[in-house]
Symmetry: C2
Subunit: 354 residues, 2 copies
DNA sequence: CGCATTTACCCAATCGTTTGGGTTGCGTGA
DNA sequence: TCACGCAACCCAAACGATTGGGTAAATGCG
C-alpha cells in the first residue's frame, strides 16, 4: 500500500533487480505477466519476492521508456467542442472512467467547434503519440475523418456521428420521435423546433426524427417552423425570439434539441408575458441535472451521456485491436415535467383541429 | 504546412540525419536551439536545410524518448471534483489554453470531491511522470498537500486555497462582501446564506466575507441563517426548503455561494408560491453563462474562471522553475439583475428597521 | 544411465533523444 | 611559421523498459 517515501528519483527496474540479485529482464517479465506466473520467466518463489519488493518500493514503470520500446503510449486523445458544455463534460467523465479502468490515460482538448482548431488539436495529440483519438465534435462533411482514416489512425466518434465511421452516440432520431409523440398526444398541433447547429448530427437527427414522426401522425410542420441556432442559452433565447416575433402564428409547443437552448427559450417566452407549461410547452434534450430542478421543471429527453463516453472507449479499444466495429446508438428516454405536462391550450387546439 | 502523407511510422531524427548526410545530434541541436542559430551547432545554411526537411517530413519528436532523456514530460496533471461542474470545466479551459501555449499537455481526472479518489488520481498522474499537478478540489485540512510537499512534488492549487501553499483563486472573501453591500443597500435586513460545502475554501470564504461585512454594516446574521449544502441545484433547493420551513422568519434575501445552488433555491422559492426578485431576492456566485439567461435573470458575482485556470499554469511553471510564489487572489465583480434588482419588500424592511 | 525437455534464469540489442565531449580544418595575429 | 581559436561538425553514452534468443542446471522418460 505504501508509496515511495521521500524517493527523489523514481525506482527503476534495474534498482529492483540489483537489490534482488537478479537480472532486470527477469523482473520485467514477472511484473508483466499478470498472473500467468509461469511463462518460463521465474520460479514462483522469485516472482513473489519481486512483486513484494516492487510493492514496497512503490515501483511504477516509466511510461516514456515503455512506450519507446513498445510503440504504444496507453493514452487516448479526446477532442470536444468545449468542456464547459455540460453534455460533453459528462461524456468525458464516462471516457475517463472507462479509460482508467483499462489503464489508459486521456488528454482532452477543446476545439471550440472550429474545424481548424480541431485539426490542430488532433495534430498535437498525435505528436504526443496517443494510441487513438475520440472525436466529440465532428462536423457534417468533415475532411478530418477521411484524412485520419487514410492515415490509418485509430479513432472513434462520440456524441456526433458520421456515416461510415465508428461512433458512440445517442439514438437522436428516436429521441426526436419521442418528443413528437408526446406533444401530439397532449393535443398540440402547432409546434416549432429550435434545431441547433446544422453541422451537428445530434441537431439534425433530433430535428429529423421529430419532423418525420410529426408527419406520420398527420401533423404539419414547415421549414419556417424550424429555427437553427447555437446550442447555448443565448442561442435558444434568440431562436425563441424569432419564433415569437412571427406575426400571428405563435406555436403552442417548442422542442429545443438541447436543454440549454430550452432554458434560453423559456427566458424569451417569459419576457413575452407568456407562461411556460401553460401558454407554451417546452421540451429540451439531454436531461441535464438542471432540467428537473429549474423553477419550472423542464421536460427533456434523457440521453445516456456517461454511457456514451464509456462505450466510445470500448469501441476505440476494439478499433485498435483491429476489429471491424459498427456505429452504436444508445436509447434515450423522455421525462415529462411541468414545462409540457398540461394539455395544449384549448384555443389553439380548436383552431387547428377543425 | 504539410504533415506526413501516409507515413506509417513517424519520422525520427535519424531519418532526417541520414537524408541530409549529417549526424543526428546535429539535427537535434538545430531543431532544439530555437532561433539561436549559432551555438556552434551548425552553419546557418545547414540549419536551414535541417529545418526545411523537418517541416517537409512533418517531423515531431517522440515525447517518450525525449522525456526518457530529459526527465521531463512537458505534461501537467489536473484534478478537479468533476468536469461536469461548469465552474471547474471553465477553469480547466483556461488551464488547457495556457498549457498549450507553453507547449505543455494536460491530463485531467475527476475526483468527485472524494479525498481517497483524489489521492488515487494523483498517484496515477505521478506514475505518468507529469512535471507537476494542479489540484482543483483540495479540502480544508487535506493531508495530500502536506504529503506532496514533503515529497517535493511541484503542485499548485486552483479554485480552492489552502493556507501556506501556492494557489490561484478568486478573492472569495471580497466576493461575499460585494453581495453584503448590495443587499444592504437595497434595503434588506433579514438575510440567509446557502453556504456550500464546509470543506471548500470557496464556500467558507464567500460566507465569511458576507457575514463579516454584514456585521460591519450593522446587520444581524446568526448561525441559523447559514445553511451548508451541496454545490449543485439539488443542494440549493434543499437548503432553501430548510430556510423557508423555519417558522415565522422568512428572509427577504438569499445569498447562494454558487449559481447552481441559487437556481435550485429559485425553484424552491417558486414552489412556495413566492416570486424571486419581488418577494425574495437571490444572488448567486460565479456568473456562469446561465445566470444572465434564466427566465428570471440571476444576480451573480463574476469570478474570472478562465483567468484562474491560466494563472494556475503560470504559477505551476514558476514553482517548477524553483521560484517562491505567493497565493494569487483574482478580483470578482458583482452583476445585479432582476433576481435582486428591486428594493426589499416594505413590510420586511419596516419590521426590522424599527 | 543417456538423452530430451523443461525450468529459471541471463544477455544484449533496441526504441529516439539529448548532451558532454571530442575532432577536424580553416583563418588569423604575433 | 606556429600556435590558437573558432566554426561546424561527429561520437557515444546515457535514459528505462522490453523481448528474442541464449545457457546452465534440473528433471523426466524409457
Amino acid at each position: 500500500m505504501r508509496t515511495e517515501g521521500t524517493g527523489r528519483q523514481p525506482i527503476t527496474l534495474k534498482d529492483l533487480a540489483a537489490e534482488l540479485g537478479i537480472h532486470p529482464s527477469t523482473v520485467s517479465r514477472v511484473l508483466h505477466s499478470t498472473s500467468e506466473i509461469a511463462r518460463g520467466a521465474a520460479s514462483s518463489a522469485t516472482a513473489e519476492r519481486v512483486r513484494k519488493l516492487a510493492r514496497e518500493r512503490g515501483y511504477s514503470p516509466d511510461p516514456g521508456a515503455a512506450s519507446l520500446r513498445t510503440r504504444r503510449t496507453k493514452a487516448f486523445g479526446v477532442i470536444v467542442p468545449r468542456l464547459s458544455d455540460l453534455v460533453l463534460a459528462t461524456m468525458y467523465e464516462g471516457v475517463e472512467e472507462a479509460a482508467a479502468e483499462a489503464r489508459y490515460s486521456t488528454f482532452v482538448m477543446n476545439s471550440h467547434d472550429n474545424p481548424e482548431e480541431q485539426r490542430r488539436k488532433a495534430e498535437i495529440m498525435l505528436a504526443r503519440r496517443v494510441d487513438g483519438l475520440i472525436l466529440g465534435d465532428i462536423h457534417a462533411g468533415s475532411e478530418l475523418v477521411q484524412e485520419l482514416s487514410a492515415r490509418h489512425i485509430p479513432f472513434v466518434l462520440m456524441n456526433r456521428r458520421y456515416p461510415g465511421f465508428p461512433s458512440s452516440t445517442c439514438d437522436d432520431n428516436l429521441g426526436g420521435k419521442l418528443v413528437a409523440d408526446h406533444l401530439w398526444d397532449t393535443g398540440h398541433r402547432s409546434v416549432a423546433v429550435i434545431a441547433g447547429e446544422p453541422y451537428a448530427s445530434t441537431a439534425v437527427d433530433r430535428t429529423a426524427g421529430f419532423r418525420q414522426r410529426w408527419h406520420e401522425l398527420g401533423g404539419q410542420i414547415s421549414d419556417a417552423d424550424v429555427v437553427w441556432s447555437r446550442f447555448d442559452t443565448e442561442g435558444g433565447r434568440e431562436a425563441a425570439e424569432t419564433l415569437l416575433a412571427r406575426r400571428g402564428s405563435t406555436p403552442t409547443a417548442v422542442f429545443a434539441v438541447n436543454d440549454f437552448a430550452a432554458i434560453g427559450a423559456m427566458g424569451a417566452i417569459r419576457s413575452h408575458g407568456l407562461t411556460v407549461g401553460r401558454d407554451i410547452a417546452v421540451v429540451g434534450f439531454n436531461d441535464t441535472s438542471l432540467a428537473a430542478q429549474l423553477p419550472i421543471p423542464l421536460s427533456s429527453v434523457r440521453s445516456p451521456m456517461l454511457e456514451i463516453g464509456r462505450r466510445a472507449v470500448e469501441l476505440l479499444r476494439r478499433v485498435i485491436a483491429g476489429e471491424q466495429v459498427e456505429p452504436l446508438r444508445l436509447t434515450p428516454e423522455l421525462f415529462v415535467r411541468e414545462s409540457s405536462a398540461a394539455t395544449a391550450p384549448a384555443a389553439a387546439r380548436n383552431a387547428l383541429a377543425g
